[in-house]
């Protein structure tokens, strides 16, 4: 480039001081020179590219020159006046000067000057010029050329101040039909350059006889050279007799492709010190390396690597022992430990590098420093493009003594790999390089390379154009961001700390720190987890592992999962690869909690013992008696807790099966819990839903697919056309019980159409079915499991009438919201069963009376009906409310979150916000503490001893659960010992004084200022706070 520059200067001098003739000679020499350059292929193009830049740099020369012109010729001023203002625009200035020279000195100068504009044109024009002095039609040609040039450049003189013209001009420089053509000629492989030089020599020897214009050999194109000539015959003539050119096939390069021949892919990335590269071959293939030194002449690079050296093998080799020929494995990257090497008797030399003065350890010809291997490799064996070092890699490269500079260095590589359109309008950015370093601003406009920013600082121009490479996105702690590229793509979080271009983000979901590059991040208000799925396994899935252990996926990493193992005793997390997972466990199980309540998925449980005692949350998975509970307040393991089923208890679940009073006595006036439905007649479950062992509301509200129980038609497969009822759903397959055959078949879920009339909601049937599961119904044939006696004609009409709208309303719209299990059925069986008022109350119930045992009543939806709010039923419910037996009824209810019973009753669905539902469920006041005896001193109880009922006031609760009760409504009577089963708490009425028996406020007294359904509004005596508490935990005070 420098050389070329000199030449140009010479030219200029020539113009000024030498006459035309000499100058042409000079040019001639120069052109030959140029040709040689072209023969060298790539380098020539490089040189020309630099010419392009030179033109700009030459501005000054031209200026001087212009001044000189003025001195010499004068009268040119008018043409130049406008240039004063436009001097800053290189392009215009350049065009301008071209033109002037054209006018001043004629074509030759012009050509010299604009020679660099575009390589092709350059070639073309030189071609025109070179033969000039030698041809007969010289004059004519010159004139023609002049005309063509005039034609070409006349346009630009009008628009010279318009930036746009550059493109047009460039277009004009492209080869046209009138220019010489390029011909592609086949030659011997590897002899391309030689052939080109031969042709050049031939030209020198033969001169004008050869009518070709140029020869081009490209380094990247083997087997071919290009020859520029007007006619194919000229090419043929020229190549005749050359031994490297055989065959006579000469192909014309289409005009459009001519430019491509000489355009160079700008892949010449500058390898500079400290850039990150990757090795392309050898043991270190794919490894990250850092450039330490570049030798451009020898095309070699010294890189710094983390050595992968098997010291033992090395030692063997050095000692001349036999080494296994080909090692099957590549040693893992590890820093070289010199002491270790010495231990293996490997000779370590310490040498000083004469160039840098650094000390290197030399082991078997390899140089090490600070544990890194310094290796000199060919430039071809490294790739420097699109290197994206990961954090881990960079982290490893950080030497202990490393200072902050390394980081900034990494930055430059990172920037080089930045995607296009990286900056967007409005982005906050900071300048990281140059004079404006640390200036913050906002992106206003993005051009190709330059980004216009609006600086934050006052007193600066409105916008500044800054090179993209000098900018870095800027975030402040507290920004909420989303990672848009890199390994952590998709994650969101809040910026906790900014370390130059590295951000530390607190992930929204995992509450962990993530380190990311600022470049990979955009500001966003979205909350996501990032990747949550690999293959078919998703975050929070229950999976069976190789060794038959199981666990819940609590985190998805790039290629592995973190699994919380199902070991309740200790929290065990393991990292599991995809292939180590056997399968997903989708089967739904039910287990029993400590109090023998059935726990299903989605039930809220509290953990009573173990490392996570006291935590509570919904059950996400159940497997082998182990529950996986999700507690959103639990921060470890993504909120998952693993616990044994029998160390948990259902929140809001009845403890009637165990005991509520802390001892074995039931509060229900001596009613024994009805024995569980004997599990013997299981065959029912063949057709029914998965058999729930408890009095749970079958039909699977929580966790079960809505499809279960619906009647579907099979659309495809061997059972096409059959109708049946969905019994179970497992992943993609559905088990359908056919209507026409006594068979349950498994079909693909896609093969069924479920828009068949949803006849008789199956859930109801099953409920009655539950009652019928007892051997009391011998009449049920296996063929018609649903034709239970209860649904015989007599009962059916009523039953249907009853069932219709409200049930659906009560069940369906709220299914997701209401607590997953309805404890009415479970809690109350006994009470309902014996409730004397209930039987005569409503005609529908009569239908059931006879065949149904107690538990059957439990299943009757009576309780729900009453809440469903239709007049008929509510009369029932409310009739029940004040009845003397109410106090015991709530004992089934107390844990029922009030909203639970309330919600199903609100048809229409709008009023309850989901929030409230959850709130009630979680409300610490209600469900926080349901342990311990219920009876407390000072409260008023109804004592039923030896058949008669009297009021009494508890004076003391004895350790065995029985109480010392002073009889009389104000405790003035005799003191007796009463078993808990013999007494009931007196339900308070409005404006009664009360004592709270459960929850966090246990023991506190207050006044009941209102009743809302099953909730009481209580003003606490001490604090005068108003609380809403379940009526059940309120006891009247005397």
């Amino acid at each position: 480039m420098a050389r070329r520059r000199d030449e140009e200067d010479d030219d200029v001098d020539d113009e000024e001081y030498e006459d035309e003739e000499e100058q042409l000679m000079d040019d001639e020499d120069y052109d030959e020179d140029e040709d040689v350059g072209r023969g060298r292929g790539g380098s020539s193009t490089k040189r020309r590219r630099s010419d392009f830049i030179d033109d700009v740099a030459e501005e000054d020369d031209e200026e001087d020159e212009d001044d000189d012109d003025e001195d010499f010729g004068g009268g040119k001023r008018h043409n130049k006046a406008p240039r004063v203002g436009s001097q800053f625009f290189d392009l215009e200035a350049q065009v301008d000067s071209d033109e002037e020279e054209e006018e001043d000195e004629g074509e030759d100068d012009f050509i010299v000057e604009s020679g660099g504009d575009l390589p092709e044109e350059d070639v073309g024009r030189r071609m025109h010029r070179r033969p000039l002095p030698l041809r007969e039609d010289e004059q004519e040609d010159v004139e023609a050329l002049e005309r063509s040039i005039q034609a070409r450049y006349a346009r630009s003189s009008h628009t010279e101040y318009d930036e746009e013209t550059t493109d047009v001009e460039q277009q004009a420089l492209l080869p046209s039909v009138r220019d010489p053509k390029l011909w592609m000629v086949k030659c011997a492989i590897g002899r391309e350059r030689e052939t080109a030089v031969c042709l050049m020599q031939k030209y020198i020897d033969k001169g004008s006889e050869l009518q070709i214009r140029s020869v081009i050999a490209l380094d990247h194109l083997k087997n071919y050279i290009y020859i520029e000539a007007d006619k194919e015959a000229h090419v043929r003539e020229a190549v005749k007799g050359l031994r490297n050119i055989f065959g006579t096939k000469i192909m014309l390069v289409p005009i459009r492709e001519m430019t491509d021949v000489l355009s160079v892919e700008s892949k010449a990335i500058d390898l500079s010190r400290d850039t990150w590269v990757r090795m392309k071959i050898g043991t270190y293939k794919g490894d990250l390396a850092q450039v330490v030194d570049v030798d451009n002449v020898r095309q070699r690079v010294t890189v710094k690597l983390i050595p992968r050296i098997d010291l033992q093998a090395l030692a063997n080799k050095l000692e001349g022992r036999e080494v296994a020929k080909k090692k099957a494995f590549v040693p893992p990257p590890r820093f070289m430990n010199v002491d270790e090497a010495r231990e293996l008797h490997i000779r370590v030399e310490r040498r000083r590098d004469p160039m840098t003065g650094d000390y290197f350890e030399n082991i078997g010809g390899m140089l090490f420093k600070d544990g890194f291997l310094y290796k000199t490799v060919s430039m071809k064996s490294i790739s420097a493009q699109n290197i994206k070092p990961t954090f881990d890699e960079l982290e490893k490269f950080r030497t202990p003594s490393g200072n902050g500079e390394g980081e900034m260095v990494g930055l430059s590589t990172l920037f080089a790999n930045r995607k296009k359109g990286h900056f967007m309008k409005g982005d906050a950015v900071i300048v990281v390089k140059g004079d404006l370093k640390n200036l913050k601003g906002w992106v206003e406009k993005v051009e190709e390379e330059n980004v216009h920013i609006r600086p934050e600082m006052k007193g600066l121009p409105k916008t500044l154009a800054v090179n993209e490479k000098e900018l870095c996105k800027y975030f402040e702690p507290g920004n909420h961001v989303k990672v848009v590229s890199g390994t952590k793509e998709g994650a969101t979080g809040m910026v906790v700390k900014v370390e130059q271009h590295v951000l530390i983000i607190l992930s929204d979901t995992t509450k962990e720190h993530i380190r990311v590059f600022a470049d990979d991040v955009v500001e966003s208000s979205e909350v996501t987890t990032g990747v949550t799925k690999i293959g078919e396994y998703e975050l929070h899935d229950l999976v069976l592992l190789d060794n038959n252990s199981f666990g819940v996926i609590i985190r998805v990493e790039s290629e592995a999962f973190q699994v919380l193992k199902g070991v309740p005793e200790r929290l065990e997390v393991s990292l599991v690869k995809l292939r180590e997972i056997k399968c997903k466990i989708e089967k739904k199980f039910n287990v029993q909690d400590r109090y023998r309540n059935t726990v299903s998925v989605k039930d809220v449980v509290r953990i009573l013992e173990g490392p996570c005692k006291g935590k509570q949350g919904p059950v996400e998975h159940i497997y082998k008696g182990v529950l996986f509970v999700y507690d959103r307040h639990h921060l470890e393991h993504a909120g998952f807790i693993c616990a044994k089923a029998d160390s948990c208890c259902i929140v809001g679940g009845s403890r009637s099966n165990g005991d509520r009073n802390g001892d074995s006595f039931s509060r229900f006036g001596g009613f024994k819990t009805p024995p569980r439905v004997p599990p013997s007649p299981r065959r029912f479950s063949r057709g029914g839903p998965p058999y729930d062992s408890g009095g749970r509301n079958r039909g699977g509200r929580g966790g079960h697919d809505a499809l279960i129980g619906t009647t579907v038609k099979i659309r495809q497969g061997p059972f096409k056309g059959y109708r049946g009822r969905v019994v179970d759903i497992k992943g993609q397959s559905v088990r359908v019980e056919l209507e026409s055959q006594m068979k349950v078949v498994t079909v693909d879920r896609n093969f069924i159409s479920d828009n068949v009339v949803i006849s008789t909601p199956y859930r109801d049937t099953s409920r009655y079915g539950m009652g019928s599961e007892t051997p009391m119904h011998p009449s049920r044939t296996p063929l018609h499991p649903y034709m239970t006696p209860m649904r015989d004609p007599g009962a059916t009409p009523i039953h249907d009438g009853m069932r219709t709208p409200m049930r659906d309303r009560a069940w369906n719209p709220y299914a997701p919201m209401s607590p997953p299990r309805d404890n009415w059925e479970e809690g109350n069986p006994a009470s309902w069963g014996t409730s004397p008022q209930y039987h005569p109350g409503s005609p529908p119930s009569r239908a059931y009376e006879a065949p149904t045992p107690g538990s059957g009543w439990a299943s009757t939806p009576g309780g729900n009906y009453s809440e469903a709010g239709t007049p008929r039923d509510s009369s029932l419910a409310y009739a029940n409310a004040p009845s003397p037996y109410t106090p015991s009824t709530p004992s089934g209810q107390p844990m029922t979150p009030s909203s639970g019973s309330y919600i199903p009753g609100t048809p229409g669905g709008q009023p309850m916000t989901p929030g409230t539902g959850g709130l009630d469920l979680m409300s610490p006041v209600i469900g926080a503490d349901n342990e311990g005896p219920w009876f407390m001193p000072d409260i008023l109880v109804n004592v039923r001893k030896s058949g008669d009922e009297t009021l009494g006031v508890i004076q003391e609760v004895l350790p065995d659960g029985s109480c010392k009760v002073a009889l009389g409504s104000n405790g003035s009577g005799d003191t007796v010992i009463v078993l808990p089963s013999e007494m009931e708490i007196v339900a308070p009425r409005k404006s009664d004084k009360i004592k709270i028996m459960g929850g966090s406020l246990r023991g506190v007294t207050g006044k009941l200022i209102g009743v809302d359904g099953t909730d009481g509004i209580v003003r606490i005596d001490d604090s005068l706070d108003v609380k809403i508490l379940d009526l059940v935990i309120l006891a009247k005070l005397p």
């Binding site: 702690p477 507290g478 920004n479 909420h480 809040m494 910026v495 906790v496 700390k497 530390i504 607190l506 929204d508 509450k511 962990e512 720190h513 909350v527 921060l635 709010g869 509510s874 409310y878 009753g905 609100t906 048809p907 229409g908 709008q910 009023p911 309850m912 916000t913 929030g915 409230t916 709130l919 009630d920 209102g1010 809302d1012 359904g1013 909730d1015 509004i1017 108003v1026 809403i1028």
Partner: protein
């Protein structure tokens, strides 16, 4: 920051509540529904302090429910960026600690804890200065500055810092 503002809500009331206590029922239901909830705009509703106005009820066809537009005064709590709060530490781990200021959970990352405080694991994980004079552990009270908030539908989560003047422990349970 706490605000005392007037909000409006359409309350649906079940017909069974109609009667003399309709208003009371409505109010108690409103309290139940609203108190403790969180909205991104207003923050947490801490308490209802009064009822401004109960509009005319509108009976809904088919359900018998009645919708009342209720205007109520309430105290809301909304954390802001840059706000200084006092909070009780609820959990300490190696990444930082969580603190609560009422309903708001605030995370203070270890990057935002003064550099001289180091994490000590063990039974009672804590952050302690090298001389042991200051200790942050569960139940400590700290004064912190909120540097970022994330508002969800039902939750406001904040990130705080104690790496600033006058921030840090204000009450230590061990010494108190």
């Amino acid at each position: 920051m706490f605000f005392h503002i007037v909000l409006e809500r359409n309350m649906q009331l079940h017909p069974r509540h109609f009667g003399r206590n309709l208003r009371e029922n409505l109010v108690s239901k409103l309290m139940k529904d609203v108190e403790g909830t969180c909205s991104g705009r207003h923050g947490f509703v801490v308490a209802i302090t009064g009822i401004e106005n109960i509009g005319k009820g509108l009976i809904r066809d088919g359900t018998g429910f009645v919708t009342f537009p209720v205007k109520y005064q309430c105290v809301v709590f909304r954390p802001f960026k840059g706000e200084i709060l006092e909070a009780a530490v609820t959990m300490v781990n190696k990444m930082g600690f969580f603190a609560e200021a009422g309903p708001v959970q605030i995370f203070v990352s270890n990057h935002l804890i003064p550099d001289d405080m180091e994490f000590q694991s063990g039974d009672m994980p804590n952050y302690t200065t090298s001389d042991g004079s200051v200790k942050i552990q569960k139940d400590s009270e700290v004064r912190l500055k909120i540097i970022g908030t994330r508002v969800d539908a039902t939750e406001i989560f904040c990130i705080g810092t104690i790496k600033d003047d006058f921030l840090g422990v204000i009450n230590d349970p061990t010494t108190a």
